[in-house]
């Protein structure tokens, strides 16, 4: 396989995952904006969305004020924003086009029709009342893409690279969501208890990671507690967006890759060590050493893994 092909498959999946994550962030911001009594932390929900997606600077360069309309436009439709849904879908499609020969027609069609339909949407027509439906359409389309990928693609190196792109992006997204509001998840907050502000923030985080319902099943007493929520999103591998879940997959996939190529590259060892670290920690250790430091450190390691992967397999 060409190094460029591996790279395109990796980034195709990354960008599709990013499109979905961006949509999810906006969905949560939009919901939070309707609930009174937030904003205590000094962060407005639209600013949290910008911060989490790492686009605040870009936004401020274009716009003076943070407004709902402005953030929605910037994060969904803006062509200069490299993380906007538009850019993500277009880049994912361009990557897929570049490896048109390496993907199935089902996968191509899922991606291509999404892009065609998205490109036909007039940004002005997405008013705030239309936003939830539109965002959930984006989510649905990215699920369709994942389904087409998992159901049709050959389980060879191409599959491994696209899986890795998917989970690297997902882990990055989860870590960023937690890190942007890490103080909300500090155990001290538990003392305050089921205060309404914490409640809203906690459920916001869980919602952004599609974990509100499953949290209640995973923790039998179903009570929202900072420690449990943090543990759920970081260490519980049955939660499909937790860091542990992502690295469980990454570790397994890099093993498959090593077997496929008959060689254990540096990146594969790196993935194994990140996974080992996650596996062997519990939430108390993480709090003791500092949640913020832990998350910042994780984001760095996750990036280092992706970099090493692209060097090991000659991504162009």
């Amino acid at each position: 396989m060409l190094g460029r092909t591996a790279s395109s498959l990796f980034w195709m999946s990354r960008y599709l995952e990013r499109a979905q994550n961006t949509a999810k962030l906006l969905e949560v911001a939009n919901r939070a904006a309707m609930v009174p009594n937030t904003g205590h932390s000094g962060l407005d929900e639209w600013r949290i969305a910008l911060l989490t997606s790492g686009t605040e600077l870009g936004y401020r360069a274009k716009m003076d004020e943070i407004t709902a309309r402005g953030v929605i436009n910037y994060m969904v439709f803006d062509k200069q924003n490299t993380s906007s849904v538009r850019t993500c879908l277009e880049t994912a499609r361009n990557n897929a086009r570049a490896v048109r020969t390496g993907i199935t027609s089902e996968l191509w069609e899922a991606l291509n029709t999404t892009w065609i339909e998205f490109a036909e949407v007039n940004p002005q027509s997405i008013t705030q009342d239309k936003l939830p439906e539109f965002l959930s359409w984006i989510s649905q389309r990215s699920h369709l893409f994942r389904g087409a990928l998992l159901n049709t693609i050959l389980r060879d190196d191409g599959y491994f690279f696209s899986q890795l792109g998917h989970f690297v992006e997902r882990a990055d997204n989860t870590a960023r969501i937690l890190n942007t509001q890490y103080w909300v998840l500090l155990p001290d907050n538990d003392v305050i208890g089921d205060g309404s502000m914490e409640r809203t923030q906690w459920t916001g985080i869980l919602r952004a990671l599609s974990g509100l319902r499953s949290y209640r099943f995973a923790y039998p007493d179903a009570k929202l507690k900072a420690l449990n929520i943090a543990e759920f999103l970081i260490l519980r591998k049955e939660m499909p967006r937790s860091l542990a879940h992502c690295y469980d997959w990454i570790d397994e996939t890099t093993d498959d890759l090593a077997q496929f190529y008959g060689e254990r590259q540096q990146s594969i060892k790196l993935a194994a060590s990140i996974w080992k670290e996650l596996r062997e920690q519990d939430m108390r250790d993480i709090y003791q050493n500092g949640l913020h430091d832990f998350l910042t450190d994780f984001i760095g390691k996750n990036n280092a893994f992706a970099d090493q992967l692209s060097r090991d397999y000659n991504f162009a």
């Binding site: 396989m1 060409l2 190094g3 460029r4 092909t5 591996a6 361009n94 086009r97 570049a98 048109r100 020969t101 027609s105 191509w108 069609e109 291509n112 029709t113 065609i116 490109a119 190196d157 190529y261 397999y313 000659n314 162009a316």
Partner: protein
């Protein structure tokens, strides 16, 4: 058929029916079928086809278009039909022509017998931009230069076909030939049951065999073949991906290849892999910044040296463009006779060379009647079609022509044949051309059929997709 008036038009050959309106033998079944179908049937089929094409991403890019750069070529659901005997004659004519052109290329890059014999002026070749001095003295595998050729033909009467252009560089459109057929078989299975249509689906396999047969070392059991594309923004990118996919080979860009010790390798996720044959879809000038255009980002530094060292085959060979140069075109009948000793089976269109004073005078006197083309133009840009042009367009063109006559050739306006076509008002005759695809390697392989392009506007003679033309599936019937 409706009785659409074609006032501006001289008479033309109607491929479906004779002057009395009686269907010709090859079209008999189709004519009946068209009559039996309800009025909205074809409209519905056209829409179905468009949806299929768009979802599969079968698009081409239009240069200069602003927002959506990917367009569909309109597809006409009524097939164009050629009888077995018509095809036999066409294919023997094409076979003769492509062999002669390859012999010509070998000659002009070696002994130049044709110049010595005084059959072609030396300047026309040696001063020609498409002549590559770098190719002199080099002999490609099997002495084949142009491996993939798309011969553009038009028909003016029952047994009269003309060759318009030879397209010996990187002819495109073959993916449409293949996808048009697939779409037709899906949409109109009953029509295929009532006809014996020669298949075209073997083309990718024949292309692969052709490319393998011209490898530097054909005895090697595992040939590494690649398709070299300029990338996803190229107008024919879909076709590049399609061909690589259907041959089962890698689609590469210049940056995926590198040259080491005179050999070409591709960068893979493992060790670099040596490449034997490159089916390139980029122009000569962009192949290698060290030999040709130094600014190219599309090519591979050192590629040409690896080629001349005999370590890789480039298809088509660099320098084949001279064989389809519009100034050389007039000499092709001469070329056929010189290298094959036979009379040409297919006619050339009579051509006036505006660099000659007599010819230019004639052309200027008859602009209203004839077609004038740029020598190096393509895609229907920069040309004048006298009979359909306005007075203003003609007088503007006269100035351009006078200021730079060597840049132009002229030909009589041909009354292109017409085929039944689905249009807003129903079914009406529209003018068509034909591009069959030829492969030249260990032998000459011609796919029965080709790409029929159709001018969708009433009376129009311009079939180029960039100018609003569409395509049709082309059927060759078996005996």
């Amino acid at each position: 058929m409706n009785g659409e008036a074609m006032t501006k038009e001289r008479s033309f050959y109607n491929e479906m029916q004779d002057e009395a309106g009686v269907p010709r033998a090859a079209y008999a079944e189709l004519a009946k079928w068209l009559e039996d179908k309800p009025p909205n049937f074809l409209k519905q089929k056209s829409r179905e086809a468009e949806t299929i094409f768009r979802r599969l991403g079968i698009t081409f890019a239009v240069y200069g278009a602003q927002e959506s750069t990917e367009r569909l070529i309109p597809f006409d659901p009524i097939p164009r039909i050629l009888s077995a005997s018509e095809w036999r004659r066409l294919s023997s004519g094409i076979d003769q022509r492509v062999r002669a052109l390859n012999a010509f290329l070998h000659d002009i890059y070696h002994r130049q017998e044709i110049i010595r014999a005084g059959r072609i002026p030396a300047d026309l070749i040696l001063q020609n931009e498409a002549f590559l001095p770098e190719m002199v003295g080099f002999t490609p595998a099997r002495k084949v230069y142009a491996h993939i050729i798309g011969t553009d033909l038009v028909r003016v009467a029952e047994n009269e076909f003309y060759v318009l252009e030879d397209n010996t560089r990187t002819p495109s459109g073959v993916s449409y030939m293949l996808e048009n057929r697939e779409t037709m078989m899906r949409m109109l299975p009953d029509l295929f049951q009532s006809h014996r249509v020669a298949p075209v689906e073997q083309y990718p396999e024949m292309l692969r065999q052709t490319l393998e047969s011209v490898s530097p070392d054909p005895s090697k059991s595992n040939q590494t073949i690649v398709v070299l594309t300029p990338g996803i923004y190229n107008s024919a990118y879909f076709e590049h991906a399609f061909l690589a996919d259907s041959m089962g080979v890698e689609l590469v860009e210049g940056r995926d290849l590198f040259v080491d010790e005179g050999k070409v390798f591709m960068r893979t996720t493992r060790q670099p892999k040596q490449v034997d044959v490159i089916y390139r879809r980029i122009d000569d000038a962009f192949l290698d910044p060290l030999t040709f255009n130094p600014d190219t980002m599309l090519g591979v530094p050192g590629l040409f040296d690896a080629y001349r060292a005999g370590n890789v085959t480039i298809c088509n060979a660099p320098g084949t463009g001279i064989a389809d140069d519009k100034a050389i075109y007039a000499y092709v009948p001469e070329i056929i006779e010189f290298y094959t000793g036979q009379k040409p089976i297919l006619n050339n269109v009579p051509t006036w060379n505006c660099s000659r004073e007599d010819d230019l005078a004639y052309v200027l006197d008859n602009l209203e009647e004839i077609v004038v083309k740029e020598v190096h133009g393509s895609g229907g840009y920069g040309m004048l079609i006298g009979p359909t042009a306005s007075k203003r367009q003609i007088s503007d063109f006269r100035k351009v022509l006078k200021s730079n006559p060597t840049n132009y050739i002229a030909q009589p306006t041909l009354a292109l044949s017409a085929c039944p076509t689905h249009v807003a008002s129903g079914v009406a005759p529209r003018h068509v051309d034909l591009r069959p695809y030829v492969l030249i390697g260990d032998r000459v392989r011609i796919t029965p059929g080709g790409l029929t392009r159709v001018a969708l506007k009433n009376g129009s003679l311009v079939v180029n997709s960039s100018q609003g033309g569409g395509t049709k599936d082309t059927w060759v019937l078996e005996d």
